[in-house]
């Protein structure tokens, strides 16, 4: 083989602005709602206002008579023609209701679609949807997952005979011995509140059927066009090879668009049935009610410790509120919690028991972090609780339980193998950036003056770059293709589906360096199954680590092929050809060098090729990761709490994240900051609220408190770099880090501020009212 000494041109590692931005900042990008097709019809859904009701009658006559209305369809009209909404999680003995695309004779949550109206304009469809007359007979509701497992509880799905969808457990080490040997057992019940992902672009889709060739195109605001192409055929009866899914510009996902939704299948069905393209754009109230929610785990947590703080074991009983149905990964999310529940610590024994429970609410599923924020929050809260109860320094307690850098790959008691890490390195850097001693001095001084100040730390690890196919429901590889065009320009196609992460830029950086071409000559295509033939899409912080690695494989193959062609054209042998600075020449020679344009021209014109040489200059590849990656870091948060109002102010926020090698530090910073903002929301403001009747009280931005610009502190961000060994980029993934690492740091800071008042724990979100009540409870004499 040739000597491959591709010089980097210095793109990787540079904080470059994005190539996708001009179209976005000019307002000329195309999101789903921007599509207009000739003859396009508009769908609007009629949704249940009841959490549980028998649907006695649906009368669409008045709606059908309205101007512009093409059709009104109920479950009786469409459910026999559409398959049920799929769940891909492989959980043994899972009890699952048939998840029809429209409600059958019952509605099971507020927002459950019971009918769909199709009309010539969106306004006409909305008017007609209001005119659909549905007779509901309300039925007993179960909205509280703990009550749902009590004897005599109303049943979410009476036909299942129970509200328990499944029980699942994970364990490692001798948990009984750990608790038998413990000097103390520290217990805490922790509620991980339900959250609503709330991408600013709601969901939406346009389905268009082409009767001539029987093909169907679905443009949809999704993170997973390729998984949809695999899963929709079973719902709509169009074969995979006649189905094209396009995720155009997608306005945020956060897991909310990592799903197969009833509305997508129904729009496909209606487009075929009505012989016209059908568009549906979700409204915000629908998004809040009928797009997946996240978190919602309630747990009793026990830590077995020695007097000196040595943690012997962790015992967890979790009730996971699944909502009324299973979406794509609903039951799998709590199992992810179990896998990483020991965090970045040596905890020799663990046992987690999960009960997945149906309630009359929207389904939970993978919201940014998906199971890992829950794990990190609980282990990091527990570390502080242990330190507090034993009078230990929470930093020292954490340090004592870190695996050392030379102990990696590190096998955890739940059975994972962490690839690489230097947890103390990140902690030390974060403390340095935070000016730890000053920070502690400030807190203590304020306390002496009667103020409420606290410092919280979170040392986290997450499981990312999903993942090895043997551990994934439908393959964890990623596909990519790199093509040197006849002009020498480079087309890169990825099966990952970025929707804001910026891989049109970061993948171009990778390719520019490795091929030695200007970044302007590279185009990265994604999000269209007719272009990216295969893919597993974007979720679980996998885009760069897995998708980027497939691109590296392609490049290696192309360079190898190009070297053979160059050897032929230079009348030498491949072992005497070197690749340097984007050109091929004789090793060490000063003579003629061939660039990509020269080689591509020859490769495609194909008049002077080596014997047996296949024309063309492209390569495609599937990258199969051998393990997950385990990014980690330390977040430190300092807060002041207002005694009179309970308001929390973040006065310092330091994050040191280690995602391995960084392709574009500017994009990494953006991911971290965005993730922390989700955590600020979870820690201080956000909670999805249903009342005891299953009525959704947070159905709007008016009621669901997303963080605003004023809620964001000035961050101090840093990083350490411990490359992973499981992919050629050494990149671990960073999309979820902020959401995983930050919540416990903020929570621990607030609890630390209230510690002098005797407050041991408060559940999230730490809204002023809750904090104020805690302050005043401690003041009162009872």
């Amino acid at each position: 083989m040739s000597t491959i000494t591709a010089e980097t041109t210095g793109y990787v590692g540079r904080a470059m602005k994005r190539v996708e931005d001009p179209r976005l900042i000019k307002g000329i990008a195309t999101y789903v709602d921007d599509l207009r097709l000739p003859g396009m019809l508009h769908a609007v859904f009629v949704r249940s206002p009841h959490a549980h009701a028998r649907i006695a009658r649906i009368d669409g006559a008045a709606a059908r008579a309205m101007a512009g209305v093409v059709g009104v369809f109920s479950g009786a009209d469409v459910n026999a023609h559409c398959g049920t909404v799929p769940c891909a999680a492989a959980i043994p003995d899972l009890k699952a209701p048939a998840h029809t695309v429209l409600a059958g004779d019952r509605a099971y949550f507020v927002g459950h679609p019971v009918a769909v109206v199709v009309a010539s304009t969106a306004y006409a469809a909305a008017d007609a949807a209001d005119a659909v007359d549905v007779d509901y007979e309300p039925l007993p509701v179960v909205a509280d997952p703990e009550k749902a497992i009590e004897a005599g509880s109303p049943l979410t799905h009476p036909a299942l005979g129970t509200n328990v969808a499944y029980t699942w457990n994970i364990g490692g080490g001798d948990i009984d011995a750990a608790f038998a040997q413990a000097d103390r057992v520290i217990r805490q019940r922790i509620v991980h509140q339900r959250l609503t992902p709330m991408p600013i672009e709601p969901r939406g889709c346009v389905a268009s059927f082409h009767p001539g060739d029987g093909t169907l195109t679905l443009w949809t605001s999704t993170q997973i066009p390729h998984l949809l192409r695999t899963l929709l055929p079973g719902m709509i009866g169009v074969a995979e090879n006649k189905l094209r899914i396009v995720a155009p510009e997608v306005g945020g996902g956060f897991g909310a668009k990592l799903n197969v939704y009833a509305e997508e299948a129904l729009c496909c069905h209606l487009a075929m049935r009505l012989g016209a393209p059908v568009k549906w754009i979700e409204r915000r109230r629908e998004n809040a009610a009928a797009t997946i929610h996240g978190r919602d785990q309630i747990g009793d947590y026990e830590v077995a410790v020695k007097h000196d703080g040595t943690i012997l074991g962790l015992r967890i009983r979790t009730i996971a509120d699944l909502g009324s149905y299973l979406q794509l990964l609903t039951p799998a999310v709590p199992t992810l919690t179990g896998l990483v529940v020991t965090g970045c610590y040596k905890i020799p024994a663990v046992r987690m028991d999960v009960v997945g429970v149906y309630t009359h609410k929207m389904c939970t599923d993978a919201y940014r972090g998906a199971g890992r924020p829950e794990a990190t929050y609980l282990i990091e809260r527990l570390m502080d609780l242990v330190a507090g109860e034993l009078g230990l320094d929470p930093i020292e307690l954490r340090r004592r339980h870190f695996p050392r850098p030379d102990e990696f790959p590190f096998k955890t008691s739940p059975g994972l193998v962490y690839d690489s890490g230097n947890y103390d390195g990140a902690l030390g850097k974060a403390m340095e950036l935070a000016r730890w001693d000053e920070l502690v001095g400030r807190r203590d001084a304020r306390r002496r003056e009667g103020g409420l100040s606290g410092i919280g730390v979170s040392t986290y690890v997450e499981i990312c770059a999903m993942g090895p196919s043997k551990a994934m429901p439908a393959g964890g590889w990623e596909w990519g293709c790199v093509r040197i065009e006849i002009s020498g320009k480079v087309t890169v196609i990825t099966g990952a589906t970025p929707h804001g992460q910026g891989q049109e830029t970061s993948f171009a950086q990778i390719v520019a360096d490795r091929l030695g071409v200007p970044i302007e000559d590279i185009v990265v295509l994604r999000g269209d199954t007719a272009v990216a033939h295969y893919g597993r899409d974007t979720y679980g912080s996998r885009g760069t680590a897995v998708g980027g690695s497939a691109i590296v494989m392609c490049i290696d193959r192309i360079v190898e092929k190009a070297a053979r062609l160059a050897a032929h054209l230079l009348e030498t042998t491949p072992d005497r050809v070197e690749f340097r600075g984007g050109t091929f020449g004789l090793t060490g020679g000063t003579g003629k060098r061939l660039g990509w344009g020269d080689l591509a021209g020859e490769a495609y014109i194909a008049k002077n090729l080596p014997a047996g040489f296949e024309p063309g200059l492209d390569a495609s590849a599937f990258f199969e990761p051998q393990n997950f990656t385990f990014p980690f870091g330390t977040h430190i948060c300092a807060v002041d709490v207002d005694r009179d109002t309970g308001a929390v102010q973040i006065v310092k926020y330091v994050a040191v994240d280690d995602c391995g090698n960084q392709i574009n530090p500017l994009l990494v910073e953006g991911q971290v900051q965005g993730g922390i903002a989700h955590s600020i929301g979870q820690a201080l403001f956000e909670r999805t609220v249903y009342d005891e009747n299953g009525q959704l009280l947070t159905g709007e931005f008016m009621d669901y408190a997303l963080p605003r610009a004023e809620d964001i502190p000035d961050y101090v961000l840093g990083s350490t770099c411990t490359p992973t060994t499981v992919n050629p980029l050494g990149a671990k993934g960073v999309g979820e880090a902020g959401t995983i690492g930050a919540t416990p740091a903020i929570a621990n800071a607030v609890i630390d501020a209230l510690r002098p008042l005797g407050v041991r724990h408060l559940d999230l979100p730490l809204v002023p009212e809750k904090v104020w009540r805690a302050i005043n409870r401690s003041r009162s004499t009872d």
Binding site: K17, R18, E20, D21, P22, L24, I25, K26, G27, I28, A29, T30, Y31, D33, D34, Y123, P197, M198, P199, I200, E201, P202, E249, V250, G251, G252, G253, F254, I281, R283, R284, H499, G500, Q501, G502, L666, L667, E669, G670, Q673, G674, G675, I676, A677, H678, E700, F701, M702, L706, P707, R708, A709, E710, I712, D714, Y715, G738
Partner: protein
Amino acid sequence: MGVPIQIRVNDTLRKHEVEPRLLLVHYLREVCGLTGTHVGCETSICGACTVLVDGKAVKSCTMFAVQADGCAVTTIEGLAVDGSLHPVQQGFWERHGLQCGFCTPGMIMSAVQLLDDRPQPSREEIAHGLRGNLCRCTGYSHIIEAVAHAANQPRARR
């Protein structure tokens, strides 16, 4: 039953007959074909639909098109002049002030008015001025930097 309206949209006078209930954002998107202005909530909370009406940032999802009769409306498409980005657009590009880009047009339009009102805002003033615009991707820090970047540009156009 259409109502005749005349609106100067991005320096072009447009005359249409519209339903009185037609929202300004739908007028811009569906009648004018200017889809850069987005709809995120229809309750004037998220600000994705922000445009300038007679120079003032307005949430076009809670204003009727007929209310803009006789006004001058600037949308994101009208901000760049002769292909040259507005300093706020440039700031968003330079400082990675966007990820998915969906809130971006509204965020940029709000920032334009913010800088019109206060050419050299502090970090707190920028954050305060953008309180009517939600972003779920960036965590706002880069947006605040983007606006500060624009504020430091010498261009008179701003």
